[in-house]
């Protein structure tokens, strides 16, 4: 089968002198790198991924090891950094000691694993389910479309966090259930986006051509239409990761998500919320980590949206 026409775009390069064929992804990358905010997002995200991958080596302590009787430290001790004048004979704890006498820095580092995992897992789940439902609704239409989209409308009618809390309350608290809950509440957004793209793509000539040569429904839907309806999904997904991480942190803050002693940022903030005046470092650092992660995904998502939008093609940057 021939490749769909709009996957290759003929484009003038920066000098506008020569014509050559450039793929959509190359263009996207190029446009993305022209936006400083997107680069900042990418850099933060890269750092986070690096930290998550290498936490075993760069974390000075086991994140759930209790240091009572191991070192001479107090509950909720303030940060001790040798570089900034903390006496050398005291053990160094860059972000201090938490309420259970564990090294806060190691916990924050390991927390990146959970947040990234939560973000990708929930959005992955939502994209798979949402794409399937949206594609079915958009391509098949009729009563199928009606049933699926009305169910999605019902789900969208609830504030997402409240619905997630309700689901977790039924399933029982825990990281897996929180993931599932956030995944479920994110599905409608993806279903809608995919349905809208499918509706517009399915009337295009290359689809009609496939249909004319006798392609099966499944092939046309998943082989022809979906690959060409992906761009809005990528934008939605990147921004959705930020929301998912925030929602998961909120659930954990409320004690419904990750259970202790897992070093999840939301639950770390929640556990020490009453010490916000006496031990601010225990709320500040995990909070900052959540903020940076969400910011990174938002910046990247914004950049991607602009880069992938054909209407903004030449003006962006």
């Amino acid at each position: 089968m021939e490749k769909p026409v709009n996957n290759n775009i003929a484009k003038l390069d920066a000098e506008g002198l020569s014509l050559k064929s450039v793929s959509l992804w190359q263009i996207t990358w190029r446009r993305l790198f022209r936006r400083k905010s997107a680069i900042v997002g990418l850099v933060i995200l890269g750092g986070l991924v690096l930290i998550a991958l290498t936490a075993d080596w760069i974390a000075p302590y086991d994140p759930i090891a209790v240091l009572i009787d191991v070192e001479d430290v107090r509950v909720r001790q303030a940060p001790c950094i040798h570089l900034f004048g903390c006496p050398e004979d005291q053990p160094q704890h860059i972000m201090g000691i938490d309420g259970n006498v564990r090294d806060e820095f190691s916990r924050v580092l390991y927390g990146s694993r959970y947040s990234l995992f939560i973000g990708f897992a929930t959005v992955g789940f939502a994209i798979v389910v949402g794409t399937f439902l949206g594609a079915m609704a958009g391509y098949l239409g009729g009563w199928m479309d009606n049933v699926i989209m009305r169910v999605m409308d019902v789900l969208l009618a609830f504030p997402s966090l409240l619905l997630a809390i309700a689901i977790v309350s039924v399933l029982g608290p825990g990281l897996t259930n929180a993931l599932l809950a956030i995944g479920i509440v994110s599905v409608p957004a993806y279903a809608r986006v995919v349905r809208a793209s499918v509706l517009s793509v399915r009337e295009m000539d290359f689809v009609s051509a496939s249909r004319a040569v006798g392609g099966s429904t499944l092939y046309i839907l998943f082989g022809r239409i979906l690959p060409n309806a992906l761009t809005p999904l990528i934008v939605q997904g990147t921004l959705g990761i930020a929301t998912a991480i925030l929602d998961a942190a909120a659930l954990s803050f409320l004690g419904l998500g990750a259970q202790p002693p897992l070093p999840e940022w939301g639950s770390m903030v929640g556990a020490e919320r009453n010490q916000v005046f006496t031990a601010p470092h225990l709320v500040f650092y995990p909070g900052l980590a959540i903020m940076l992660t969400v910011l990174a995904f938002n910046l990247l998502g914004d950049g991607l949206r602009d880069a992938l939008d054909p209407r903004l093609g030449h003006v962006s940057g």
Partner: protein, 565 residues
């Protein structure tokens, strides 16, 4: 015609059944009624007193009361099935407050009674905005010293940081349970005062012996040896707390007789656990409710430390499970928690019976599963003696049996505190947790705002067990006797004195005369009899309450009359 006759007959049968069920009371009423006219005829103005009597047919029902009788307008006599030296301490407790019989009957035993109780206390309920605040106003007809501040407001927040912040901001005048980290902050603040509350409580790790592997005594003992309790107290409790050597604090007579608790020895614990068939540990859960109490100021941290210790010392992989407070208590009481559970107890009155009998007596709940005869038999024997020295051997045996069977691991007697505006007069912390606000004021203010951990559940405290409810009731209603302000000694209240016969089975209380309820009615002996009977008699039409459990009555006085078994 025939139908009407049948209706009439059945009506009469119903009425007679009702009469029988009311039992002694109506009998006595008719007796008194027949006597009344003759007396009235001879000595004109003195009306004979129509005194109520409640009576059990015999003591076989298992409870403590045999007969409660209003001898005359100001005398009530309690006849008990067995001697009870702690009787004055028990009837001084908030749950046994005296309510006006007319009001209780009109409310049907629930309804208004739960939200707007009428009592004799220095404050009366003005307005209770659920979820927000409870406003009490001074009762001007109070028999004792009138409250210093005209308006008392109860507020609540589960967040200790918010309580401290509001106190610092001056929006409240007193708070309960500042977080352990805030003790130093409050002491350093010249505008505030911290009042330490004596550690008359216990925090324990409970087991239910009907669920494996906790049905094996060796497993419970192994865990008891392998929890470093000193480490928990050192790291997670404020100053003034101590490691528990026994379930009951030593300040209570006979509280810590018998062998002290196991010393921390994880080696021995591991050996014992291997002996029981779990050399590699097992998986279980640690259940707790995420609410701060004086005995457990940092719930989640302690739960996580116990989790870490179990894993490190015994390779027991425990999951921590935080539950909603009410659901947790229900599950614990009905014996549904199949792992370890973290709970505690604060003294209601300073006697061993309040600690041991409530938890391990024959009338206790299923919290720890099957009960041990060598514990509850000793408790039953000890409860009937008056002399502390004579009771000691029984409590020693009971404490040793508890140490052997390990229904729970006593961890700490937690020091807690209240904090007030530095200008507050009469600021105190009660070891029983029932601070008395009638003696407090901030000069120049006509409102005193108190902020506690949680909202009262209801204000009919006969059917509540939560300290946050009891404290609010304490301002509004009064019992026959009372505890001295900020202490544990029993002092007269609605009764000027209560006297016992030689073997402590008949207690006669002489009521204060001219005491007014908030609704203007006057206290008499019948109010006392009804207030006790509606709790005692499970068949009583007013035996309704909030949940109908009347937990304190059964645990302190053995059981209900006419209880369905």
């Amino acid at each position: 015609m025939k139908q009407k006759l049948f209706l009439l007959m059945s009506l009469m049968v119903l009425v007679s059944m009702l009469l029988v069920s009311c039992g002694g009371a109506t009998e006595a009423a008719t007796e008194a009624a027949t006597e009344a006219p003759t007396e009235a005829a001879t000595e004109a103005p003195v009306e004979a007193y129509d005194g109520m009597v409640s009576e059990a047919p015999n003591c076989d029902y298992g409870g403590e009361f045999l007969r409660i009788e209003a001898v005359d307008e100001y005398t009530v006599q309690f006849t008990l099935c067995y001697p009870d030296p702690a009787f004055p301490s028990k009837i001084a407790f908030t749950a046994f407050a005296i309510l006006p019989s007319e009001y209780v009957e009109a409310s049907g035993g629930a309804g208004d009674l739960l939200t707007h109780p009428i009592g004799t206390g220095p404050y009366m309920v003005a307005d209770w905005v659920r979820g927000e605040q409870l406003v009490l106003t001074r009762f001007d007809g109070y028999w004792g010293d009138a409250a210093l501040t005209p308006t008392l407001v109860f507020r609540w927040s589960t967040e200790s940081a918010q309580r401290v912040l509001e106190l610092q901001a001056g929006t409240v005048d007193g708070i309960d349970n500042p977080g352990p980290g805030d003790f130093a902050v409050i002491q350093a603040d010249p505008g505030l005062q911290l009042v330490a509350r004596p550690a008359l409580n216990i925090f324990y790790i409970g087991f239910n012996n009907t669920y494996p592997p906790f049905d094996d005594e060796r497993v419970r003992q192994a865990i008891a040896m392998s929890i470093d309790r000193q480490r928990i107290v050192d790291n997670f409790y404020p100053v003034g707390s101590e490691v528990a050597s026994h379930f009951t604090p030593c300040a209570i007579p006979n509280g810590c007789v018998g062998e002290a608790w196991y010393t921390f020895d994880p080696e021995a614990g591991r050996a014992l656990l291997a002996d029981a068939g779990y050399p590699d540990g097992f998986t279980t859960s640690i259940f707790f409710r995420d609410v701060v109490r004086g005995y457990l100021p940092q719930v989640s941290n302690v739960a996580q430390d116990i989790q870490a210790q179990l894993l490190e010392n015994l390779n027991i992989d425990a999951q921590v499970v935080s539950m909603e407070s009410g659901a947790f208590l229900d599950a614990a009481d009905s014996g549904q928690l199949d792992g370890l559970h973290l709970l505690g107890w604060g003294a209601d009155y300073p006697d061993q019976t309040n600690f041991l009998d409530y938890h391990f007596g024959s009338g206790s709940s299923n919290q720890f599963g099957e009960k041990w005869p060598d514990i509850y038999e000793n408790l039953a024997a000890g409860a009937q003696l008056a002399d502390d020295a004579a009771r000691a051997p029984y409590y020693e045996a009971a404490n040793n049996a508890i140490r052997q069977h390990v229904p729970m691991i006593p961890v700490a007697h937690g020091g807690s505190a209240t904090a007030y505006d530095a200008a507050a007069v009469g600021a105190h912390a009660s070891p029983l947790g029932n601070e008395y606000f009638a003696v407090m004021e901030v000069p120049g203010q006509d409102t005193f705002v108190w902020m506690q951990n949680a909202e009262p559940i209801s204000l009919f405290c006969a059917d509540e067990t939560d300290g946050e409810s009891l404290r609010a009731c304490e301002q509004v209603t009064e019992a026959l006797l009372a505890y001295e302000v900020g202490g544990t000694a029993v002092k007269p209240s609605l009764a000027e004195r209560c006297e016992a016969n030689a073997d402590l089975t008949v207690w006669t209380c002489y009521l204060r005369q001219g005491v007014q309820f908030h609704d203007g009615t006057t206290l008499d002996a019948n109010d006392v009899v009804l207030s006790f009977t509606l709790q005692w008699d499970a068949n009583h039409p007013l035996h309704v309450g909030n949940t109908g459990a009347f937990t304190y009555f059964t645990s302190l006085f053995g059981g209900f009359l006419n209880a369905d078994e």
